[in-house]
């Protein structure tokens, strides 16, 4: 391009003139911006995730494989123990697709949708969870009762195509009768005034395929919460507490993510997208780290709870609350199950 620089301006190729004009534009003064806290968090996480090459990688894979084999063997043994325990009580009723679910007093929705897991393989996840030495309390949450038929599409127009998520996630019952999205937490027995450690990492709530994923999340006061939009369309994040006081409300551009200021008080928020009204989620905030949300196998695991007697609470957005007492000895994890039955 140097020879062209000598030509009169008007005679030069318009592409070269445009490139020169763009290159000559001043860049904003000052250093580049700082990376956001969310980006820094991801960079930190990525440090340990970089693929390792060569012998080191192979050695790591072998180590993981041998650990997994041991864990699965222990898991199967533990599962048998739990199953033997389970035989002492009536087995959870098998879901009956097509039957009706009674309307419940503590919900504002006239009907509810059940989403069935298609996974029919026995799982060892609850047992895997209990194998960590830090797990203090574990168990299942079950559902009993009649299940209504599968719903129509959530978006009546069907205009969203593949993003039209067909399921309401307010009641998600697995094939084995266990219930997802139940928040299990310690509600009594903790020493007052004791500072508790923050759980590691931020809580992440995704907007994916026009659905909040996960449907229910729990966080500790002071813990970072990140909301990510993984869809190529605009969403909003509108949170209201139990009194329907808006906690925050912001637009979430396509492929965007935003960190919410850490929660400062114990609350329960219902989160929705104002653009796609079927998109809802729940965020429960505690002032301690002893909580979990039941997974896709209906299990939960509360870790690092000191020995003592506690009240443990299970909360479901439709079925309400149950409380039980539990004693943690500091040795074997305490096992406790909950059953939600709308007929009772």
């Amino acid at each position: 391009m140097n020879d062209q620089d000598e030509q009169p301006r008007e005679d030069r190729d318009i592409v070269d003139r445009a490139v020169d004009a763009l290159r000559a534009e001043p860049i904003a003064d000052g250093p580049p911006p700082r990376l956001s806290a969310a980006t820094v968090e991801l960079l930190r996480a990525a440090r340990s995730n970089r693929p390792q090459m060569g012998l080191l990688r192979i050695a790591a894979l072998l180590l993981i494989a041998s650990c997994l084999a041991g864990v699965i063997a222990l898991g199967v043994r533990e599962r048998h123990r739990l199953q033997a325990r389970g035989n002492e009580r009536p087995a959870p009723a098998a879901p009956a697709p097509g039957s009706r679910l009674p309307r419940l007093a503590n919900t504002d929705a006239p009907t509810h949708t059940l989403v069935f897991s298609t996974d029919t393989q026995p799982r060892v996840r609850p047992v895997l969870a209990t194998l960590g030495s830090a797990v203090a309390v574990t168990g299942h949450v079950y559902f009993r009762g009649d299940i209504p038929p599968h719903p129509a599409r959530m978006d009546p127009s069907g205009s969203l195509g593949e993003y039209d998520h067909p399921h309401d996630q307010s009641i998600v019952v697995n094939d084995d009768g266990t219930l997802q999205n139940v928040v299990v937490s310690i509600s009594g027995g903790l020493r007052a005034g004791e500072p508790f450690p923050l759980p590691p990492g931020p809580v992440v709530l995704n907007q994916h395929n026009c659905t909040f994923v996960p449907h229910v999340v729990a966080a500790m006061t002071g813990q970072e919460v990140i909301v990510r939009n993984l869809d190529p369309m605009l969403h909003s994040v509108h949170a209201m507490d139990a009194e329907e006081t808006p906690a925050f409300n912001f637009a979430q551009p396509a492929d965007g993510q935003r960190m919410i200021a850490p929660f400062q008080s114990v609350k329960t928020f219902k989160v929705k997208c104002d653009i796609h009204p079927w998109m809802t989620a729940w965020v429960r905030v505690f002032n301690h780290p002893y909580f979990d949300v039941t997974h896709d196998d209906g299990t939960f695991a509360i870790k690092d709870l000191p020995p003592g007697t506690y009240t443990i609470k299970a909360w479901h957005e439709v079925f309400g609350v149950q409380e039980k007492q539990i004693t943690v000895t500091g040795g074997e994890p305490a096992v406790i199950d909950f059953t939600f039955d709308p007929r009772q």
């Binding site: 190729d13 318009i14 592409v15 003139r17 445009a18 490139v19 004009a21 763009l22 290159r23 000559a24 534009e25 860049i27 904003a28 250093p31 580049p32 911006p33 990376l35 956001s36 980006t39 991801l42 960079l43 930190r44 990525a46 440090r47 340990s48 995730n49 970089r50 693929p51 090459m53």
Partner: protein, 169 residues
């Protein structure tokens, strides 16, 4: 272990220059700056990266072009409005500056109309000063293919820029 702090402090300024030059405003450039590093994390998780600087430059160019396309799709050509204050405080005559600003904005607009690979090759070669071999390595193409990409990009840009001038006349 990846020394992200070192990478950000060493390569951050170059990434910033690239995204700012292509986008032309601070707000978009700041968002794109974050996106570039987030995209780099994704690549790092998939594969070992030999030349972080080059990867970041390529990602910065690609992300900035994506954002530019979105901007022109949603806002039309008003995005490039030039303020009088911006023109009246330089060493060059305001007429020259106005013409340069107009040309820059037309080029941004025209780049959005190019196929992604052509636009990327064009920016890496003409704006970031990469050579054919570097571009070929990063776009997974041959050196000859890069030459073809650049030739087609120039040809198409010439048409687009000339058309814009004609429309305005």
């Amino acid at each position: 272990m990846v020394d992200w702090d070192g990478i950000v402090s060493r390569d951050g300024p170059a990434v910033w220059r690239t995204v700012y030059r292509l986008l032309g405003n601070r707000a978009d450039a700041e968002d794109c700056f974050q996106e570039t590093f987030l995209a780099a994390v994704q690549v790092w998780r998939r594969e070992a990266v030999q030349y972080p600087h080059a990867l970041l430059q390529r990602l910065a160019t690609a992300r900035a072009l994506d954002r530019l396309r979105r901007r022109y799709r949603t806002a039309g050509r008003e995005a490039g409005t030039v303020e009088w204050e911006d023109l009246s405080t330089g060493e060059r005559p305001p007429g020259d500056l106005a013409e340069s600003a107009e040309l820059s904005e037309r080029l941004r607009d025209a780049l959005c109309a190019l196929p992604a690979k052509q636009a990327q090759a064009f920016c890496l070669f003409y704006l970031d000063g990469w050579d054919y071999q570097q571009i070929a390595d990063h776009l997974e193409a041959t050196v000859n293919a890069v030459g073809v990409l650049l030739h087609r990009a120039r040809h198409r840009l010439r048409e687009l820029l000339a058309n814009t001038v004609r429309e305005e006349l």
